[in-house]
Amino acid sequence: MINIALPKGRLGEKVYKLFAASGYEFPEILDNNRKLIFENQELNLRCFWVKPFDVPVYVERGAADIGAAGKDILLERNPDVYELLDLKTGFCRMAVAAKNDFVDDPEKVLRVATEFPNISQNYYSSLGREIDIITLRGSLELAPVLGLSDVIVDIVETGTTLKQNNLKVLNFITDLSARLIANKSAYKFKSEKINEIIRRLNP
């Protein structure tokens, strides 16, 4: 039996469609029900929806053998897992954004609002810039508008939300997409089945 952790939400649905197209289907999974666990007994697979941010935890601790997680979450949590495949879906970028009229004063400590404190810290450490991190759980665009922060570090897909709030991208930090990760120990004992999944997902 292979246990698969999928991220609840839009990215997870995209990833599930990849699985389904590769022959790994779970009946009922896309129905609007409250079930969390789905089994395909024929293929001996079980899959479950978890919060996107929690996928690496389930995999690292072995509750799931494999999982699909956004690269943003992997960079933020830095789990001890294998990253076996770029699923090439859910493309977006991690970026620094600020108000259209923002001018950086390098002598000031930069106030950074973000959902990704570790990514932000690593990025600004690599530039040698001192920052003050403000960790928020969403609606990041508000922070610079209300003067809570100078900049935000956030995921940018099309940039529409930024534009609507009079914000602009200052720098791109890294490209993001969904990745297939595996528990290190589980991969030792189920490598044949996991490699088969990878082969089929990666045409």
Binding site: E60, R61, G62, D80, V81, Y82, E83, L84, L85, D86, N183, K184, S185, A186, K188, F189, S191
Partner: protein, 277 residues
């Protein structure tokens, strides 16, 4: 009768001690603390950089042992021959997920001195036999890698740390993205036991690798600490236990740092707390 009252990890420790006794390893008992200065210059060799300290009655800063190997090398008498020790101790480290100090049970062996290939083979074999003892019928596997070989390939690279991270994740798409050397990508792809005859770095232990062909897995994503290890490194897994429970390798670098220039060393530790989970 006595064994019935012991916890599973205590029984496991006794079984391992029996195994090491059979192979003429001597039991090594040591104090739970050392002077802090002893560790200060050797942090590169420690898994967790934080050390639990306290002040002794005479004002000296002491440390609760974060590592057994350093103490064994320090206290082993400087002799020309080969010394074989095993231990069953607690170490004090910061746990990755809890951000606080933990007491960790560790059993293991160290083989130091004028080592021959014979000794190296014996330690690798004992690692496999330790896993067999702990597995109690479940499947187990010893991942084998070579720190020297990885370090050599990385010497030319500027983004060494980035490559190491990707290699440890088996992240082949990531290695390709940053244009890592082709040889590293080849290394990242190796798994299973088909390549044991072709990899020169494993020549000294080829005898053991052949004998236990189905219990080993060549895997260069097992990097561990390249400051510490310089030769063969290995890591053991048991089916159903999500973390590795055995880790070790050749660490001649450490012997050099401790002033034993001509000595070699190999050893491993078994993390018995993982067995119980």
């Amino acid at each position: 009768m006595l064994k019935m009252r012991l916890r599973p990890e205590e029984i496991a420790a006794l079984n391992l001690r029996e195994l090491y006794e059979e192979h003429n390893y001597l039991f090594f008992r040591m104090s739970r603390f050392e002077e802090y200065d002893f560790y200060a210059g050797k942090k590169d060799f420690l898994t967790s950089k934080s050390i639990l300290t306290f002040t002794d009655i005479n004002g000296k800063l002491m440390a609760l042992r974060p590592d057994v190997t350093l103490s064994i090398i320090k206290h082993a008498k400087n002799s020309d021959g080969i010394q074989k020790f095993y231990y069953d101790e607690k170490v004090y480290r910061v746990h990755k997920n809890s951000n606080s100090f933990r007491e960790i049970s560790q059993t293991g062996i160290e083989c130091i001195g004028n080592l021959t290939d014979e000794n190296i083979n014996e330690v690798v074999e004992l690692a496999i036999l330790s896993l067999r003892t702990l597995a109690e019928g479940r499947k187990y596997i010893l991942d084998i890698s070579h720190a020297g070989m990885i370090a050599e390939l990385l010497n030319e690279s500027e983004n060494r740390n980035e490559i190491l991270k990707l290699l440890s994740e088996k992240n082949i798409h990531g290695l390709k993205n940053i244009n890592a050397p082709e040889k590293i990508i080849e290394l990242a792809k190796i798994q299973g036991n088909n390549d044991i005859e072709n990899l020169k770095c494993f020549e000294p232990i080829i005898k053991t690798l052949r004998k236990y062909k189905n219990e080993i897995n060549i895997d260069f994503s097992n990097i561990n600490n390249l400051n510490y290890y310089n030769g063969i490194i290995f890591r053991g897994y048991i089916e159903g236990i999500p973390e590795s429970i055995l880790s070790g390798g050749e660490y001649d670098n450490l012997m050099r740092l401790m002033g034993n220039k001509n000595s070699k060393a190999i050893g491993f530790a078994v993390y018995l707390d993982e067995v119980r989970k």
